[in-house]
Symmetry: C2
Subunit: 729 residues, 2 copies
């Protein structure tokens, strides 16, 4: 279908401000009378705070206050459960509120007239700790008798256990001609946003505690702040200035409550900027997992059974682990039909940095395992891996591991064929790109991915929007109110395009009013690849209601609308049976790598990414998302190694935690935009944000295997691991 | 202090509409395409719903749907805890969701084109019940081994236990010259609002499920509806049309969820009106209590010790019992300083109609006991009861039972003196109004009362308001947005007066936009005598912020403000030590009664009520509240006997449950408005709504004693009880 504004590669609304430097990020915000905060982090993985002596700190000239646990009205928070103290220490009314459980737990807040005075005072706080036993390995932490991270929550560190029981795996394996069994390991990953955590809090003209910070969901930030301060939500306001990247790492609270508490107690504007090191130890990471898989197929290339056991490190607090692992559970069989499945997925508390949302939300790990299994099975069967995937790709009506089909058009075959065609995948080549004699060898690899759109497991997905139509005879201006966070993905541009299309006016007539709880309703999080889908439906609903009022001669015509997505259901406890999602999107990637057998260095020469976005609202932004996702996944696949020892972070700077630079990124990323409309998506759109991240790591691992003839089952594929696999070290 | 508009007896904003009949109450609302609902109540106190057969019902012509437990997305609700199923029956995902626990539990909803068809179909629903043992007496229900009302919540029916431990009562009693020990019984009370529960639900233009019904807190209604429907709150809208009385009885959900569910499922407007009988069995009542007291005083008239044990019937669900009994705990020592106090207060689940908020919120029962003890002690000491009260009245800084002083000016002495003076209380008369020979005897009685203003026990009290100033050079119109419910008390008139005073414009320039969650923030409940105090502070804050903007030349100048009351704290579990409230108000009443010793009939000849309202915003409305409170308390004291047998309501019509008619009410109610400003009240105002109810019952009981020479310790003082006390039956 052709639309007027939908489908146009229009320039981003925020382009000029960001390019000229006019745009203010939270770290750029300032106010008269502003004072500065520093946080005393625990810097130890597990200990009881016996006492905190702030006497010397308070004497530092310019210091206004030192806050500890006793100053927090309701000393707890958390996005899923309130298992984390705002400040750890004595005087907390929370059970276990005097325990620090990871290095980034916060112990005291210092506010002073200058940053230097706050830092000096922070360093003069004397804390007496009683160290407690540290559990840092989730496999050890699962064992009965292991020291408990949260004794107040139960007698085991296992905080999540999901089961899939579909068909009968033993019957399935009995039919198998080949069986592949492997154990995989995936690492922590750091979001490494451009802008570390920062913010400014103050009382606005109407006496509300106002926090300007970078987050992903204004309304849950507000809720968590209000809860900790024991205040009604109306008394708290959250505003997002420009956000320098998020990727899931800003879904959980970082500086928001601390800033609000200080601004409220002192009745003055308070500012903080975290250093890169504070950011790295202070916010959640991607879940590292150990994934054990045993899959069987018949010699005609049909999957018959899959048995999986996955253990994920939840770190010190829940954050969104319960939801992330639900997604790992669903994706761990790939976008394939497997009649018999048995899967157990565990989340385990440790004294490591908490693990949290990160682009893909549990899918990259599940899919790394599934796609590695697919490539190994294809090899074992002597079959081309693309052809093997074709034979097993989910079709309309095929059931997932959860026992129900994926809703909406299932387009695994379309993206698979599109990627193979664009790449020029030669099935007869049978993976022979390598030249065994060469020092630098080439290989190609293939993988697929899929991802739900929106929140899952029975949560009633919803999104708010308000549309105002101004003018007299004609609509002169359209004002769209929406709380969805512009985290760098271009969502406000996409929203303005959708509003212009819905109202039937040029794009230039749309003004966006965004991300301020004082003037917008709850639009949900900028995560789960949901924003285009949910906001589009909300804006469409509001625009239609406003147009009705316009036609009834209301001036201005104003309408609010909350879109509700179709219902979903949670996992059955014993079998996982459910309808966990209302929409999915699909991707496939083919890659070509170059491996230096002397240095072990893996270089991406070419990536073809085919992503079904349903309908591209703005193709330039779709390409931007695909390229960004591929680069971030490349870091995950070959470069980024987050090291933790006994709960302590060894890679706490970007000098030791290496992310891709301009010299590292793939030589060529070719985006293939597939558009099979989802009937319930706005103008057919699905979700995209996480999709291009998903297939890359297993495709690269397959390409390295193609180049070297060895399988490396642990990410990232660093030079050290490559050389070790080659037997050279 | 003199104000321009505050203090004027201005006419009510809603007077004309109510007098002419133009005003629409929920039962008057209608829409095109509207259909009708009837509810199938359980009509049995305790049973498991084994099956529900709706086949015959569904065949009735005009029937659109029959809904049962399986149709409710999240089948639970409750203002404090979610212990009640929306619909009781099989297929409920809630543990114990198939159990009915009182006669008014709801089992099925029928919607049809006509009321008659809905009623016919309701009567054709066949429910198979398995009866369970009924506990109807809270004293029996407390005993170990009693059948459990909520086995899913624990192994006892005791759902609340509060303790006060102040000083040492044994030491106190050792110093006492007289000790009075008694057991009192107070009854259920039915709110008997003019208008039974009714409402209309539909989808508004913007697709929100909109419920128009009579309640006390739009925003908690919305929250409870959204929870049960598994929807975001933005998708639900609650509007209050005119409300025909509330008195606490509309704080809990009645028809709201049922209507919303049906309108949402059928996408049509749905209406319901409860009959008086449905209202009586369907909504909560005042808590009946058994109150045991042992109080001691020295011969110079100083209280030295009080020991109390109070057992309250919570009925089948929690409603607000936990909060009501907190208030009983505080008021059970009266507005007097007692150095040594031991109190235990229990709430017990039974299979009776749930007990809930009712004007006074636990204070009438606590104060009935306390004031009876005071009058009996005065008699035992041979001291005038007013003088005895003077010697013990709380003074500034005196601690309550909770171990902390009441905040704000403590004015027991002022109201006591004002009431005695107005009444012409002759202390030398020593209670000798009766003429022992006469058939009709006269007596006089005196009692005091006090009540917190606003929510207690650590809840951060808050109230939202928005003020818009329109005009160019001058302010031409002030629009006040507020969600506070006009339950008949005149609060919107009071708000408009306060807004006019705050902005400095005539009253006529103020327009109120009220009680619609789509356009107002959360202003809290019309209860706890809080509305004038909280709304006044909120409107003042918003008006001041708007005036600042006006002065900065903003046109229109718009500001929102959420007022936060000072912090309070919950009871210490073992001692009750706390600062539970931020404001109190005080009252005293003197009454004269006439008792017919042949018929047993008690007639109120004269009531003098002195109430410290801090500052009367509208004296005509203050008098209206005092007169209304006295009449309702008269019903409680002498007339209203709510009878329950084995969980079944015997007085389920106003023909058997007798409330005062015009012929019953006191011949003369004289209001004495005392005005000692509360420094944190708006223009000094305190709260009034519940105050005049409080002293009446014990004052009447004292007057009956004065007339007859006998103490009657059980309410109401019906002819039967009077004759029994006289030994005549």
């Amino acid at each position: 279908m052709t639309y007027k504004i939908i489908g146009q590669p229009l320039p981003r609304l925020d382009a000029r401000g960001k390019v000229t430097g006019e745009t203010e990020y939270p770290g750029d915000r300032a106010m008269p009378g502003m004072v500065h905060m520093k946080i005393l982090f625990a810097e130890r993985p597990h200990a009881r705070v016996v006492s905190i002596d702030t006497a010397q700190a308070e004497k530092v000239p310019g210091v206004l206050a030192v806050f500890t646990a006793k100053d927090v009205p309701v000393n707890e928070y958390g996005l899923q459960i309130n298992d984390q103290p705002v400040l750890c220490g004595p005087g907390s009314q929370k059970e276990g509120g005097d325990i620090v459980r990871f290095v980034g737990d916060q112990v005291a807040l210092v506010v002073a007239e200058t940053e230097a005075a706050a830092a000096k005072a922070r360093d003069l706080i004397r804390v007496t700790y009683e160290d407690l036993p540290v559990v840092s390995d989730p496999l050890e932490a699962m064992k009965p008798g292991a020291p408990l991270v949260h004794p107040e929550l139960g007698d085991s560190n296992v905080c999540v256990h999901y089961k899939i029981r579909k068909g009968d795996v033993e019957e399935g394996f009995a039919k198998a001609d080949v069986i592949v069994e492997s154990e995989y390991r995936t690492p922590f990953q750091e979001h490494a946003f451009l802008q570390p955590e920062a913010g400014l809090a103050y009382l606005d003209e109407e006496g509300r505690i106002t926090v300007e910070a970078a987050g992903q969901w204004t309304h849950t930030d507000r809720k968590e702040i209000a809860h900790a301060l024991g205040l009604p939500e109306e008394k708290v306001r959250v505003i997002y200035p420009a956000i320098g990247g998020a990727f899931g790492g800003r879904e959980d609270i970082s500086v928001q409550i601390a800033l609000a508490l200080a601004a409220w107690k002192l009745q003055r504007p308070v500012k903080i900027i975290w250093s890169r090191r504070e950011s790295i130890i202070g916010h959640g990471k991607r879940h590292p997992m150990t994934l054990r898989a045993r899959w069987g197929a018949t010699k005609d290339g049909k999957l018959v059974a899959a048995e999986n056991e996955i253990i994920a490190d939840a770190g010190a607090y829940m954050y969104t682990t319960n939801k992330v692992l639900g997604n790992t559970t669903i994706t761990s069989t790939g976008p394939y039909f497997i009649p018999n499945v048995k899967t157990d997925v565990y989340g385990v508390y440790t004294n490591n940095v908490p693990t949290a949302a990160f682009r893909g939300f549990g899918a990259p790990q599940g899919l790394f395992m599934a796609e590695m299994q697919m490539n190994k099975l294809a090899e074992a069967l002597g079959m081309d891996p693309v052809e093997f995937r074709r034979r097993n790709a989910l079709k309309e009506g095929d059931t997932l591991g959860v026992g129900t089909p994926a809703p909406g058009p299932v387009t695994v075959r379309q993206v698979l064929d599109a990627a193979a065609e664009k790449f020029g995948w030669d099935e007869s080549a049978k993976g022979a790109m390598q030249d065994e004699g060469a020092v630098v060898r080439r290989g190609r690899g293939f993988a697929c991915g899929f991802k739900n759109v929106g929140f899952s497991f029975g949560y009633q997905e919803n999104c708010w929007a308000r549309v105002e139509l101004h003018g007299k005879a004609e609509i002169e201006q359209v004002v769209v109110y929406h709380a969805g966070a512009e985290v760098g993905q271009g969502t406000h541009t996409v929203m303005a395009q959708m509003a212009a299309e819905a109202v039937g006016v040029p794009y230039e007539k749309v003004t966006m009013v965004v991300s301020d709880t004082a003037v917008t309703g709850n639009s949900g999080s900028a995560s789960a690849s949901r924003m285009t889908f949910m906001a589009g439906n909300a804006i469409k609903g509001a625009a239609e209601a406003a147009l009705k009022k316009w036609q009834a001669e209301e001036r201005p015509a104003i309408a609010e609308y909350t879109y509700l997505a179709p219902k979903t259901t949670p996992f059955d406890k014993e079998t996982g049976h459910s309808m966990p999602n209302f929409a999915y999107a699909y991707a496939a990637q083919a890659v070509e790598v170059e491996v230096d057998t002397e240095t072990g260095h893996v270089r991406l020469r070419r990536v073809v990414s085919a992503d079904d976005v349903g309908q591209a609202i703005n193709p330039a932004l779709v390409e931007g998302q695909i390229e960004g996702g591929v680069v971030q996944a490349q870091g995950y696949a070959v470069l980024e190694e987050f090291k933790v020892q006994d709960g302590r972070v060894l890679t706490d700077q970007l000098s030791t935690y290496l992310i891709p630079t301009i010299l590292d990124i793939p030589e060529k990323v070719e985006s293939v935009i597939v558009e099979v409309p989802d009937p319930i998506g706005p103008w057919g759109a699905r979700g995209l944000g996480e999709l291009p991240f998903l297939p890359l790591a297993p495709a690269v691992a397959a390409a390295v295997h193609d180049a070297l003839g060895v399988w490396i089952d642990e990410l990232p594929l660093t030079p050290e691991r490559v050389l070790r696999a080659l037997g050279k070290i």
